[in-house]
Amino acid sequence: MLVGALSLVGALGLIIFELIYNCRLSLAKFGWRFFITNSWDPVAGEFGAWAFVYGTLLSSLIALVIAVPLGIAVAVFINELCPRSLRKPLSFAIELLAAIPSVIFGLWAIFVLAPVLRSYLEPFLANYFGWTGLFSGPAYGIGVLAAGMILAIMVVPIICSISREVMLTVPQQQREGVLALGATQWEMIRIGVLRNARAGILGAIILGLGRALGETMAVTMVIGNSPDVVKSLFSPGYTMASVIANELNEAMTSLHRSALIEIGLALFIVTLAVNAFARLLVSAAKRRMPARAHA
């Protein structure tokens, strides 16, 4: 039995060792500035990963901006507002959404989402919001915006289901306390549920972020795979996960491979930190630690 448990430790250890060991070439040559330099030229042997870091952060940010309000709103809807008979079907639907493989999301995004963006949404955004500088340039459909949107769809189920779990631990007396003061239903939800659950909801959001950061296939299929750092959301971009997916098999030199592995190591560390922090928040919230914090 111990073997089973230890196998886990072993696997994890091997993975970490493997990653660290194999990026030493690139680490030695470029140091930590690797992540803030924007130069990726495999032929010349110059590697700087800023474009990918930027792309990862930007697409994840777009995803969160869309997914957080939607995820929380749906969680509120399922838990507090919808008719009882709808609850099971709706939960199952959200589970289904979570189970769809990334590559199928990508497939759909290439052939359905991107054309819709190209023909309808992006011209619309350019017309009315072009002044912000975020929506300029040719509307390919494929690009950072598309990647952000498909990421959002993939992240909503996580935010929704964990928010629901946390909201369910809020005691009924809190809800009744607010109602008894003469609050409307929305006010009761706002003050009696959301406010009490906010630490856990924050944890849910951060878990969603963790998922978005590491997501590979769907993003690779619609982000355009071009290492540009441009302000406009219409432009193609590149994420850390995508460059690994596209280039690892074709990397000719060990330096190139090492650079890619270094990116992978960074991804690993960041998602590790993000997930650990989020899980801490969520489990603390579920144990209903009284919020001593605040004035």
Partner: protein, 252 residues
């Protein structure tokens, strides 16, 4: 000022189970009315019908009429309005843990549109004084969270919170049952003072408590109102045998 409550043929159900069978009574203003009875007799359900909290449970139903100071609590009146005018204090103190003491008391006011800082300060102080909590917390109003107080203080905070919106009636569902004897005594003193300004209806399983604080007492048994009279009379010369049996401890 408190108001009268007229309950006429009130029936209540949970699903298909009828838990109140046609209760009628007249609750006097500016007085404390106690509801006593064994577990499951419907006393909590009864007062939850008075502020329309009963219907928040799925499958719950209510029939009959409740008239509070002249306005009909059910027919046509939004539940939210009723709950603003009829305050409630629950069995287990439930202050809002993410809010300070000040914000807890002010919660109901803010909901109703009270914004001015000066008005809020004034009402918060007045309510905390009425709840006999002001002296204990006046230094730490905004620094301490509602949940950091002791049990008895939390309950008085909940009372202050309920009083802040200036209800006409105050309902209390076994307010001291989760508290120690000293806190209980403080709450009972409080109730005695509150009746000057409000109509108080208190549910209690503690007969001595009813005898101490209430002007009138109603005895419920299995969903029926068995007897309702001045407290003194109920406890010394009950008219119904079942009342007598309960009071002398033969059951419940």
């Amino acid at each position: 000022m408190g108001v009268n409550i007229d309950v006429c043929d009130l029936r209540a159900w949970f699903g298909s189970a009828e838990v109140l069978h046609g209760v009628s009574m007249h609750v006097r203003s500016n007085a404390v009315t106690a509801i006593i009875g064994p577990s499951g007799c419907g006393k909590s359900t009864f007062i939850r019908c008075l502020n329309r909290m009963h219907e928040t449970v799925p499958t719950a139903r209510v029939r009959g009429s409740v008239n509070i100071g002249g306005f009909n609590a059910y027919n046509g009146t939004p539940a939210v309005d009723v709950r603003r005018r009829v305050g409630m204090v629950f069995q287990k103190p439930n202050p809002f843990p993410t809010m300070s003491i000040y914000d807890n008391v002010a919660a109901g006011l803010k909901l109703n549109g009270f914004r001015s800082r000066r008005d809020l300060d004034e009402v918060v102080e007045r309510s905390l004084r009425m709840a006999a909590l002001w002296d204990e917390v006046k230094e730490v109003l905004k620094n301490k969270s509602g949940a950091s107080l002791s049990g008895g203080q939390q309950q008085r905070l909940c009372i202050a919170r309920a009083l802040a919106v200036q209800p006409e009636v105050l309902l209390m569902d076994e307010p001291a049952s989760a508290l120690d004897p000293i806190s209980t005594a403080k709450i009972e003193d409080l109730i005695y003072q509150l009746k000057e300004r409000f109509t108080v209806v208190i549910v209690t399983h503690n007969m001595q408590q009813a005898a101490r604080v209430a002007d009138s007492t109603a005895f419920f048994l299995m969903g029926d109102l068995i007897e309702y009279d001045k407290t003194e009379k109920i406890f010394t010369a009950p008219a119904d045998k079942r009342t007598e049996d309960y009071i002398t401890g033969r059951f419940g």
